[in-house]
Subunit: 193 residues, 2 copies
């Protein structure tokens, strides 16, 4: 097991409905040293790629994207949900459905911050059905930028998001892929990588 | 001028309606080195305080809080807007009105992550009317924790948030306090500190 799988086994909580709670270290309270390690691991796995920007979606992807951006020495951009009066009209946008919140959001990125010269690492904390990721890929490609890679902390391997993204030919690296979880026995099985 | 005031003068854009856009480096695209410097500056200004947690609110406070948490070597917690099915029922909550989005949100922090033993540095990117900050203070004090300090990147000194927080006796440090802005002449006047 790698450092993230070990931490999930130690502090993750399996709940009914295929919910894996990692809110004590990853997406509500954040363990800075762990997230720095995730950023460094993305830098290792995508060392062969030219990365000019790291892109994520608010809110829980921001710290991981920030750690990755530091590791690559590039700016980080986060896609915003809904429209803010502080954002110019000139936006790339995509509609994204949330598995967690059971709703749809428009996500937007200012055209100022992605261009055809960019080679983008897309980062997020979770990958389940892949809707958020598809939105970020769509925005990146609309800008003319290249998707150089996709880095995920935890992938739910029993949902179809990861498979469909890999089938499309993207270089997707998930640090922990949960193959199955059982809320009764509290067991978590990771895919061997 | 300090490093943040200089960056605001260089890349900030003054718009009608007292809007200061800093989305190229602070709250949409993020300059990692600048935000690390903000974290380090908070560590310097609150060096005399015992800090056990850094608390912020999603989304644009997360990277700054993360940088501050690294500088102090403590966990970061971000308050979430609205209710997620992935969050337990046991929550501290406060209602917060957004100046930017002209709406109200319930913000919540799990009771697991704040307790009477905690001494909290509250951090955010902007302080205007202070609603978000008041919510975070209310949540911190409901938990029995101490508000050890409040660190803000940019304060709009012509709105009443900062004054009311200081009047209440909190140790508030804003790295840049905008005294006035003029969208026609593109000028920004900072408060001398």
């Amino acid at each position: 097991m790698n450092f993230l799988e070990e931490r999930i086994m130690k502090d993750g909580i399996v709940k009914e409905g295929n919910v894996l709670k990692v809110d004590s270290f990853l997406n509500h309270q954040m363990d800075v040293a762990l997230i720095d390690e995730i950023g460094a691991e993305f830098a290792r796995r995508f060392a062969g790629e030219k990365i000019t920007k790291v892109l994520t979606i608010e809110a829980s992807g921001i710290a991981i994207a920030y750690a990755a951006a530091r590791a690559f020495g590039v700016p980080m951009v986060f896609a915003k949900k809904a429209k803010s009066i502080n954002i110019d009209g000139d936006m790339y946008s995509a509609e994204v459905e949330s598995f967690t919140h059971k709703n749809k959001n428009m996500v937007i990125v200012s055209k100022k911050f992605l261009s055809a010269e960019d080679s983008v690492l897309i980062v997020d904390d979770f990958l389940a059905n892949g809707c958020a990721l598809q939105g970020l890929i769509s925005i990146t490609e609309a800008s003319g930028a290249t998707v150089a890679g996709i880095g995920i902390a935890i992938e739910k391997g029993f949902q179809y998001g990861g498979r469909s993204i890999r089938n499309l030919g993207y270089h997707l690296e998930s640090l922990a892929i949960v193959e199955s979880m059982d809320p009764e026995t509290k067991t978590i099985v990771f895919r061997a990588q």
